[in-house]
Amino acid sequence: MEHRSDNILDNPSLKNLGSPAGYKVPEGYFESFAENMEKLLPERPELEQVSLPATDRTFWQKVRPYVYMAAMFAGIWMMLQMFAMLGSKTTLEPMESNPMIANALSTEDFVTDYVYRDMSSRELVDDMLDEGEIDENYEFTGLSMDADAEADSDSTYILP
C-alpha cells in the first residue's frame, strides 16, 4: 500500500523551491559581492605578515640582540663608574708620595726651572700692599728695600 503524506511541507512543489523560495536578487549579485567585499576588507598586517623562519636568519641577526644588550650593560656600568668618581672626595697626598715628583724635587735644576725667580722685591711688596697683607709702615727685616739701588742693579731675590 502506498504511503501518502498529508503534510503540505512534503509537497514536491515546495521542496523544489530551494533556498530563494520566491525571493529575487539583482542579476549577478553573488558574482560581484565577493569581488566587492575583497576590496572593502581592511588590511590586517599583524595577521597577514609572514615572519622569516629561524633558519633564514643571518649570524648578525641572531647575535644582534645579545650585542645590543651587552652594549647597554657596559654603558650603564661606565655611567655608574663616572658618577662614583665624581661623587668621591679627592684627597691630597704629599708630593713626595709620588716617586716622579719626589725625584724632580730632589734635583736643583727643577727648582731653578720651575720656581719663578725674576720677581723683584718692589713688585713683591707692591702686591702685598695691594692685597692688604702689609701696611706702608711694615718693617722688612733681612730684605734690602733700597728701591733705587734695586732698580739700578735690577737685582732679584730668590725665593727659598
Binding site: 503534510n7 512543489s13 530551494g18 520566491g22 525571493y23 553573488f30 559581492f33 575583497e38 576588507l41
Partner: protein
C-alpha cells in the same frame, strides 16, 4: 532536499590559519559562503538591501575575528552564528527605532510578502513565506535552517545555543503551524 552549504574544506581552514594565505583563503570563503548566508539572512529580514548590508557586516566581523576561529567549530557554523546574530540584532534595532512590538513586526512581514510585486515565486511559495513569517522568531529560525538548509540539529544547537530536544520540538511546532496556516487560507 540537499544541503545548500558547501562541504567543510580542511585545506581551506588550514590556509585561514597561515599568515601568508589568510587573505586569499578568506576571499575564497566569501565566494563559497556568500550565497547560503545571504539566503539565511534574507529569510530573516526579507528585504534585499538589508540582507546585503547584514551580509557585508557578517564578513567584516568574521575577518576582524578570524584569528579567534580555532577550528573547534565548523567554519560554516561559525559564519552562520555571526550572520544570525547580525540579523536578529538588526530586527531588534528596527523594532526600537520604529517603536514596534514583535507582533507588529511579524504582521508587517506577512503584509510585505503579500504586497511584494518583486516576489518571484508562485502562489504556493508566497503562501509558504507568509506562513513562515507568522511563526515566532525562534521557530522561524529553526524552520528555515532545517527546511531550506537541511542543517543537522547538532549544528543548529551550536549556532543557536539551544538543546537538540528543544530544537526538534520547535521544528515540529513550526511545521504544524505552517500546515494550519495553509489549511486556514485555502
Amino acid at each position: 532536499m540537499a544541503s545548500s552549504l558547501p562541504k567543510e574544506n580542511e585545506e581551506l581552514v588550514a590556509r585561514l590559519r597561515q599568515p601568508g594565505t589568510v587573505r586569499t583563503a578568506f576571499n575564497e570563503v566569501m565566494r563559497l559562503y556568500s550565497e547560503p548566508l545571504y539566503w539565511q539572512i534574507r529569510r530573516i529580514v526579507q528585504n534585499h538591501d538589508d540582507a546585503d548590508d547584514i551580509l557585508q557586516n557578517t564578513f567584516m566581523k568574521a575577518w576582524g575575528n578570524i584569528e579567534n576561529f580555532r577550528g573547534e567549530a565548523k567554519l560554516s557554523t561559525w559564519l552562520y552564528k555571526i550572520a544570525i546574530n547580525e540579523s536578529l540584532g538588526f530586527l531588534e534595532r528596527e523594532r526600537k527605532r520604529r517603536n514596534m512590538s514583535l507582533d507588529d513586526q511579524e504582521a508587517e512581514m506577512i503584509h510585505n510578502i503579500a504586497a511584494d510585486e518583486e516576489f518571484d515565486g508562485e502562489e504556493l511559495a508566497r503562501k509558504l513565506q507568509e506562513a513562515i513569517a507568522s511563526l515566532p522568531e525562534k521557530q522561524r529560525l529553526v524552520f528555515n535552517m532545517k527546511y531550506f538548509d537541511d542543517l543537522k540539529y547538532e549544528e543548529m544547537s551550536e549556532i543557536l545555543g539551544t538543546s537538540v530536544g528543544a530544537l526538534k520540538a520547535s521544528y515540529h511546532l513550526a511545521s504544524k503551524k505552517i500546515e494550519q496556516y495553509f489549511n486556514g487560507h485555502d
